[in-house]
């Protein structure tokens, strides 16, 4: 362990002694950076005992385990709904796990996060449960109203929270994208990013010297614990699995949210106290936004491996503007530095009042391993496209009509002399032309703004393009706009019929 070589200044036990006798020195992560700058790491490590770090952001991987208690006659709850939001019941009879992102069956903008928030705010929640009935649990249906107080057990258990850092998002496509990273405007119209940068817990202890399994933390106002590394935990992008008692949580440190057009999520406030064991610890607590790099990735490409547009620091992102392709693009944060500061301040207060003692982790967090993708056999456009029969702008409409009948086609891409796409005509265009007596040249009736695909695009993406634009074929073009083939909705239905 690298830290062991550094001069030990104090232990967690000694810090807890100071918390008990009221002599502890606690500062927030923001204050600590200035202190290290002024005093240097050695002196800062002697002066400061604990640094509170914090984050407040949308954390989809959030939920609660609930125990409702037994009714009379008792029921084995096989399916459970809270305000029409279904909870997972594949566990014991009256236990359930309600996930924050689970949508209501009646209102897609309401979900598990809203139910959790409602419970913490002391609101009544409708509980409905059904069962097939068993000899030991004869009841088949229960419907009642509960509050948080009525529950025997309510523990927030979040499989993936407090990302160390996160990719920023932008959109190269020509349409507005509504994503879990917020609303992304077309043609690199904006950038959004998540994470609080230099004050984020994992950013301040990247070697996991003090943040580990068993570390006591601040979770939405309650005293919680880190119970492991989170799902999708990987080097540089570490995550935490955490838990904490719902009954002790405070409404101001959580917020149910709905990312427009995407779905429900939950803003969660997480604070982690970091003991300043030695100068090396003080050094890592001095990290600045300008040293924290992430990537801006393009959500305009609807594949898992979205292209990286550029590297960027949190300092640039927080400045509100970044440069993309020589142009200034405005930036939206999605995490709240304001509430992350409240988390750090509140945790600091709790420690100063002696209400919050530090713990030594019982096990180190894994360093993480590169993430494995889910291997799904993806069909690409190249495997389903057919040869395109093309015409030129000066082709006679009659000739085009004859081609369509002879070859049994509904779409003819229009190309220039070099094979580059300049338009498309459909059998509908031809029929319209005939009906209105405009049977001149193809260029008079063709659609010039053509939605296209390319050979390496997934068929699902091509299908979505057709659906979005309400069309039934896409010319397949290379990067220079040269027509390579065509993919039609019939080609796609054949794929399903196989």
């Amino acid at each position: 362990m690298k830290g062991d070589r550094a001069e030990r200044v104090k232990t967690v036990a000694e810090i807890n002694e100071k918390i008990r006798d009221g002599s502890v020195c606690v500062v927030t992560a923001e204050e600590m950076k200035k202190i290290v700058e002024e005093l240097g790491a050695e002196r800062a490590a002697r002066e400061v005992d604990v640094v509170t770090t914090g984050t407040f952001g949308a954390m989809c991987s959030t939920g609660v385990f609930l125990n409702f208690g037994h009714s009379d006659p008792p029921i084995r709850m096989q399916r459970v709904w809270l305000n029409d939001v279904e909870a997972y019941t594949g566990i014991a009879a009256v236990d359930a796990y309600l996930g924050a992102t689970q949508q209501s069956e009646k209102n897609p903008e309401y979900g598990g996060a809203h139910v959790i928030q409602g419970l913490v705010r002391g609101e009544e929640v409708e509980l409905k449960a059904v069962s097939r009935g068993t000899d030991c649990y004869p009841e088949k249906e229960v419907q009642t109203v509960i509050t948080l107080e009525d529950l025997n057990f309510a523990e927030m258990v979040n499989p993936r929270n407090a990302y160390q850092r996160y990719n920023a998002a932008t959109n190269s496509s020509g349409r507005v994208l509504r994503t879990y990273m917020g609303t992304l405007l077309p043609n690199f119209g904006n950038v959004s990013f998540a994470g609080c940068g230099e004050i984020s817990p994992l950013m301040n202890d990247p070697g996991f010297r003090t943040i580990g399994i068993g570390t006591r933390i601040f979770l939405c106002g309650a005293r919680g614990y880190i119970i492991g590394h989170g799902t999708q935990h990987c080097p540089g992008y570490a995550t935490l699995m955490v838990k904490g008692p719902l009954k002790e949580m405070k409404p101001e440190f959580m917020r149910a949210a709905y990312m427009p057009g995407y779905g429900v999520t939950m803003y969660v406030g997480v604070g982690v106290p970091i003991p300043v064991l030695d100068a090396e610890m003080a050094k890592s607590l001095a990290i600045r936004d300008s040293e924290i790099k992430t990537k801006i990735i393009d959500f305009g490409v609807q594949r898992r491996d979205r292209p990286v547009i550029r590297e960027v620091t949190y300092a640039e992102l927080k400045s509100g503007k970044v440069e993309i392709n020589g142009e200034e693009v405005r930036v939206s944060p999605l995490s709240s530095v304001y509430l992350a500061r409240k988390v750090m301040e509140e945790l600091k207060e709790m420690i100063l009042k002696g209400e919050f003692l530090l713990t030594q982790p019982v096990e180190r967090l894994s360093k993480g391993e590169p993430l494995k993708p889910l291997r799904v056999v993806t069909k690409l456009v190249r495997s389903v496209m057919s040869e395109a029969v093309t015409v030129t702008p000066d082709t006679d409409v009659r000739t085009a009509a004859r081609l369509m009948i002879e070859k049994g086609l509904n779409h003819l891409p229009v190309v220039d002399g070099s094979g580059k796409l300049v338009g498309i005509i459909t059998s509908w265009d031809v029929a319209k032309a005939v009906a209105s007596g405009k049977t001149g040249r193809v260029e008079e009736i063709m659609t010039r703004n053509v939605v296209t695909t390319h050979p390496n695009e997934a068929v699902e993406v091509a299908a979505r393009k057709m659906e979005t634009h309400d069309i039934s074929a896409l010319p397949v073009v290379d990067e220079n706009g040269k027509v390579l083939g065509i993919v039609t909705s019939e080609d796609l239905s054949k794929l399903l019929a196989k």
Partner: protein, 126 residues
């Protein structure tokens, strides 16, 4: 300046906008209007320097006048995340020194921010 005008059954019968325009020479831009046989409501915009004059003329004609703030309204639900920042076409939203999201006066009430707010904390005053 934006005004919300409310007409009762008497005022609704008069051509108040034209009357006020003739009297004050102020250009009155009607942003929204719902006028029925017995009552009506309108949102109008007038130049700031004529606002006082126009307001008193409307009142004279028996119209209830309420000045609207030229800003989106924000509830306690706001978490100061800033999702709205880059959506604003006129850069009327900023993060202040203390980290809170602030709405500036140059807001044009387009409503873009209202539609992207993840916690539905924003609404238009009109």
């Amino acid at each position: 300046m934006l005004f919300r005008l409310k007409f009762d059954s008497r005022a609704v019968k008069k051509p108040v906008i034209s009357m006020v325009t003739l009297k004050t020479s102020a250009l009155v831009n009607i942003i929204r209007a719902e006028v029925g046989p017995r009552r009506g409501e309108m949102i109008v915009e007038v130049e700031d320097n004529l606002a006082d004059k126009v307001e008193s003329e409307f009142k004279e004609l028996g119209v209830e006048v309420c000045r609207l703030k030229r800003k989106v309204e924000r509830s306690e639900e706001c978490v100061h995340c800033g999702a709205c920042l880059s959506i604003c076409p006129v850069e009327a939203i900023a993060i202040g020194e203390d980290g809170r999201v602030e709405f500036l006066d140059r807001c044009v009430l387009c409503g873009n921010c209202v539609n992207v707010c993840p916690v539905k904390a924003l609404s238009l005053p009109i």
